[in-house]
């Protein structure tokens, strides 16, 4: 890419009757676009804002790809709440990613403490549980008493 750029600049120097400013700009922009578009998908988060597009490219062939996590809350009255996103102000879609990443980083206890700190004082919740759900298996993987 750099070689092409140097080559193009040399060509431009030879030509006299061109708008150099404009051509340099076009050239730079073109190379930037090419560079950013071909970033492999695993680096989709690495070169923000130059995303990569490969949504759903991987066929779901492993059970682990169907795994998901959920926080369930228990109230003093024994009621179970399966979605506490409205109370803590974190979108469910965001929470799903946080749960999975914290689980694999072995930091679920810390996630639960941080989540509990976001609960309003008026909530009568007594317990937060993180569930790992894969196919028909559900496992409780973390618990915090409030």
């Amino acid at each position: 890419m750099l070689t092409l750029l140097i080559y193009q600049f040399r060509q431009l120097k030879k030509a006299k009757k061109v708008n150099h400013k404009l051509i340099y700009l076009r050239l730079g922009a073109f190379l930037a676009v090419l560079l950013t578009l071909f970033i492999p998908f695993i680096f989709q988060q690495t070169f923000f804002p130059f995303y990569r597009f490969g949504m759903f490219a991987e066929p779901v062939s492993r059970d682990i790809q169907k795994e998901h996590f959920a926080i369930h809350a228990k109230s003093a009255q024994g009621l179970i709440y399966s979605d506490i996103s409205a109370w803590v102000g974190i979108r469910k879609s965001n929470m799903d990613y946080l749960l999975r990443n914290y689980y694999y980083r072995h930091e679920l206890d810390s996630l639960l403490r941080r989540t509990a700190a976001l609960l309003p004082d008026s909530s009568s919740l007594t317990e937060l549980n993180v569930l790992r759900i894969m196919n028909t298996d559900t496992t409780k993987v973390a618990r915090l008493e409030l």
């Binding site: 040399r10 404009l22 076009r26 998908f41 597009f53 965001n94 694999y104 996630l111």
Partner: protein
């Protein structure tokens, strides 16, 4: 011409050398990295560019990552071969003159106002999300570039001040006051806000093509300014079109490179549908015919979208199919929206010269008929 061929040869030979180096030295490092036995410099490099590796290796087996590493080399080879072909076939002037799009003043003005008014419509309410961001500050990770430059989560007041600067820039751009400068600032602020939205371990692709377009728009405006004639050729417009078309094309290509044509099987399609549990999706999954046909339609559209760059006629089919594709994804999987920004950016493929002329002639005929009464 001679040096052009030398450059082309360099680009042709580079992927061969890189592939040999990869197979001899680097492929084994992927395995070592998976088992935490890689040399420090390699582990640090992986940590820097692919921090999700630590989480993902708990979920997937070694072959998954070896396949991904192979993909990087294959992709690099494809880009290099593409550049070799480009260098062989074109001089820079030929490249620009061939791909630049005619852009009259009327066309430019219509596109300019529609784009920036659209940007306003899509982003005016982002300030409502700032309290949530500051509330979630304990979960803040920072996207890569933020971590590298040490950008921490901002306090609410700073978010509001920056958003006011964003809206002011947008207003100045719409008033065409120092519009190259302010469109650039606007694009940077747009990227900054999205950076914060995506700093909580999840990114979204909803605004991708809109962001690319806003990053290139300052180039397009500058280009128009330095060209005095009323009808001129715009390379900036081509770059925006290239970004949009490539986003689709690469999404399709990624599927082929990762999964082969097996991706379009009814079984894979049904699994995705079942993961999202949308009522329309579940109904479609019951149909044997649709489960076989729809994934092929989606894949062919993504791969074929790039043809819009080379044929005007293709846009008559591709754009409506693109709209159906996004609406279909919304209905069947609940992803995106009916007013998706991906659909909005199709404005860059429309001939606004013709549209404005037709609209104004219709308006004048309506006025005449009213006056006649």
């Amino acid at each position: 011409m001679k040096s052009q061929k030398i450059i082309s040869a360099i680009f042709f030979l580079t992927p061969i050398v890189v592939s040999i180096l990869y197979l001899v030295f680097f492929r084994s490092l992927v395995e070592k990295s998976y088992y935490d036995q890689a040399p420090g410099w390699f582990s640090e490099m992986v940590e820097a560019v692919y921090p999700r590796f630590e989480v993902e290796k708990e979920r997937f087996e070694l072959s998954f990552f070896q396949n991904k590493a192979d993909q990087i080399v294959i992709r690099f080879g494809l880009v290099s071969l593409f550049l070799a072909l480009l260098a062989f076939k074109n001089t820079q002037s030929r490249l620009f003159s061939y791909y630049s799009r005619p852009l009259s003043k009327r066309h430019f003005n219509a596109l300019y106002y529609i784009f920036y008014l659209g940007l306003l419509a899509y982003t005016w309410d982002w300030y409502q999300d700032f309290p949530q961001l500051t509330r979630m500050s304990d979960f803040y990770q920072g996207v890569h570039i933020f971590r590298w430059i040490g950008l921490d989560i901002l306090n609410l007041k700073t978010f509001y001040v920056l958003f006011a600067a964003y809206l002011l820039s947008l207003l100045l751009v719409l008033l065409k006051i120092k519009n190259v400068l302010f469109s650039g600032l606007l694009a940077l602020l747009l990227v900054l806000f999205q950076g914060y939205f995506f700093s909580f371990e999840k990114i979204q692709h909803s605004y991708t093509t809109l962001t690319y377009a806003s990053l290139i728009m300052p180039f397009l405006i500058f280009e128009k300014k330095v060209q005095a004639t009323s009808v001129s050729l715009s390379f900036g417009l081509f770059l925006i079109q290239l970004c949009i078309a490539s986003a689709y094309f690469l999404a399709g290509l990624e599927k082929i490179l990762v999964s082969g044509f097996n991706w379009a099987s009814a079984e894979t399609f049904r699994t995705y549908i079942q993961l999202h549990q949308q009522p329309w999706g579940m109904a479609v999954a019951d149909s044997e015919f649709l489960s076989h046909v729809l994934p092929w339609c989606g894949l062919l559209l993504q791969l074929g979208f790039i043809s819009i760059l080379f044929s005007k006629k293709a846009s008559y089919a591709i754009l409506p199919l693109g709209i159906l594709f996004h609406w279909g994804t919304r209905l069947l999987m609940g992803i995106g929206s009916f007013f998706s920004t991906w659909i909005f950016v199709y404005i860059f493929f429309l001939n606004w010269d013709k549209i404005v002329l037709k609209l104004s002639s219709k308006l004048s005929s309506v006025r005449k008929s009213k006056n006649g009464r």
